[in-house]
Amino acid sequence: MATLEGPLSRQLIFEPQNSLEMSPDELAPLVDSIQLILNEESATNPFTVAVSFEEPLGAANNLWEILHVFLPSSNLVKDAIWTKIGDRITAFMRSRFRKPHEAERPRVTHIYGPRGEILKTVILRSADDDPDWQDGGEDRPFPLPRG
């Protein structure tokens, strides 16, 4: 699992909305599996996958569990490889429903482009629900990731 170092133009960054509910250890299997997919795609110069955590400040919790994924290129979601990555993400988020007291929490993943714009959003409303993929369309661009 890479750290937030190196050129951002080659990194996929995974960042939970609330780092208290999704630890690095919990994210590691997802990140590692996506790194394997990327390595298979380009053995010489693959994208790397990194995780980012911020201490949650303030005081307003979220019923939805949210994962942010920042992509180095908006074209990535148009590639064939995205199907595999998207499947990994939805499988990971689906597994989160098994946590105690959390079977009712919808799971949301926002996929951002390099300018911070939302490219895709996938929502899982229950463990048995089909993933609801939505295209981005927010007027206000999302701030760039740190780094």
């Binding site: 949650p56 400040l57 303030g58 005081a59 919790n61 979220n62």
Partner: protein
């Protein structure tokens, strides 16, 4: 007769998209992601509420009424009880015009699937998931009634929370009020607690103040009666010029007086007006006014959520204008004045000396005149809070 003109502050978030993360941090310690999802701390909400709701009315040339809200931190469950009683005994809130009491609590996973909103005590080993805002509006037997909104903007929800939960997992509690009840020694029968040099009005506005157009800011102060403990609060408000030249409340400081001690829990300057020493002027004025009304010792208290905000500032470059109190002012306030140390504000004469060490010449002259007048008033009437 000069027509009365009123206006509200020019409400501009003064944030371009690329500035958004930093601006959010400046305002309340919330990161961009959290602000985007409504993730804010109670003190952030109170600050925005005070600034947004202010209203300035021009009476005649150079004289203004300023409508200014007040918020206070409730320090314990007992104070929350008392504030709830005050709020609920008068459903129309004629006397106090209180808004809901906002709490910041630790939240646990069992909160997420609480049936019908009846939140249980967290189980053994249940990990905290961070903070959460709720607004309590009543108390019954062994639980509080509350409302809350999840931070992604879902509908308003309500529920109950055990009293023991708050006893163990309360972070902070705040109450915002439009009108603050009366202090026995200062208010008239209508309940106005504001006091300044001049006419006392009986509406929600402050007494009129005359603004020094040449000074960087004009400060005035009011004593309020706390809803939590009944102790007096000192509110110092700084009026500055907005970009259009109209007066605007640019900053405020709140201190709670307990016998000889006054603890300032809030010193805030709206981001647009930072870097002009308004905070320093307010801090110094607050200390002087506290001393003039019987405080012998003062301290600056950093609340939990504000500490998060200030912590973030440490990673910012200097030009972001970190909101700090000058060390010489902080030191002076911490030293018990009964020991007569250097820099302590022990006698009015010392206050004059201290006052002359900051501000513009015009401002110093106004402050000096005002302080002498207050001091003379106090000497004549032997007025202080211990007598009330």
């Amino acid at each position: 007769m000069t027509p009365i003109k009123s206006w509200s502050p020019e409400w501009e978030p003064d944030t371009k998209p690329e500035d958004f993360p930093a601006a959010a941090r400046i305002l309340g310690g919330a990161t961009s992601r959290f602000l985007r999802n409504g993730f804010s701390s109670p003190i952030f909400n109170k600050r925005v509420g005070l600034f947004e709701s202010q209203r300035v009315t021009e009476l005649d040339d150079g004289h203004y009424n300023i409508q200014c809200l007040f918020y206070e931190r409730l320090r314990s469950l007992d104070e929350i009880y008392r504030a709830l009683v005050i709020r609920n005994k008068d459903p129309w809130q004629v006397d106090y015009r209180a808004t809901a009491i906002e709490l910041s609590i630790d939240i646990f996973p069992s909160f997420y699937d609480a049936v019908d909103g009846v939140v249980p005590m967290p189980g053994d080993g249940e990990p905290s998931r961070g903070g959460h805002n709720i607004a309590v509006y009543d108390v019954e037997e062994d639980h509080f009634l509350f409302q809350h909104v999840w931070s992604n903007g879902l509908a308003l929800d309500s529920g109950t929370l055990p009293i023991d939960y708050l006893d163990l997992h309360l972070r902070e509690a705040w109450m915002l009020r439009f009108r603050t009840g009366q202090l026995p020694d200062e208010a008239d029968e209508s309940g106005v607690s504001a006091r300044a040099d001049g006419e006392v009005r009986t509406d929600l506005f402050t007494p009129w103040i005359q603004i020094n157009q040449r000074a960087m800011c004009t400060t005035f102060f009011q004593w309020k009666e706390g809803a939590g403990s009944g102790q007096p609060w000192l509110q110092v408000v700084a009026i500055a010029k907005s970009p259009s030249g109209k007066p605007v409340i640019a900053g405020w400081a709140h201190g709670r007086k307990d016998d000889d001690l006054i603890e300032f829990e809030e010193l805030f300057v709206w981001p647009r007006y930072r870097g002009k020493k308004i905070g320093t002027v307010m801090a110094a004025d607050a200390l002087m006014m506290a001393r003039a009304y019987g405080a012998l010792e003062g301290s600056w208290v950093e609340t939990t959520d504000d500490a998060h905000s200030n912590e973030l500032f440490q990673s910012f470059p200097e030009e972001w204008m970190r909101p700090t109190i000058p060390h010489w002012l902080r030191n002076a306030s911490w030293i018990p004045c009964t020991e007569k140390p250097v820099n302590a504000i022990s006698e009015p004469a010392d206050m004059f000396e201290m006052m002359m060490s900051f501000g513009t010449p015009e401002q110093r002259a106004i402050q000096a005149a005002r302080l002498r007048e207050i001091h003379d008033d106090n000497s004549e009437s032997n007025h202080n809070f211990e007598d009330s």
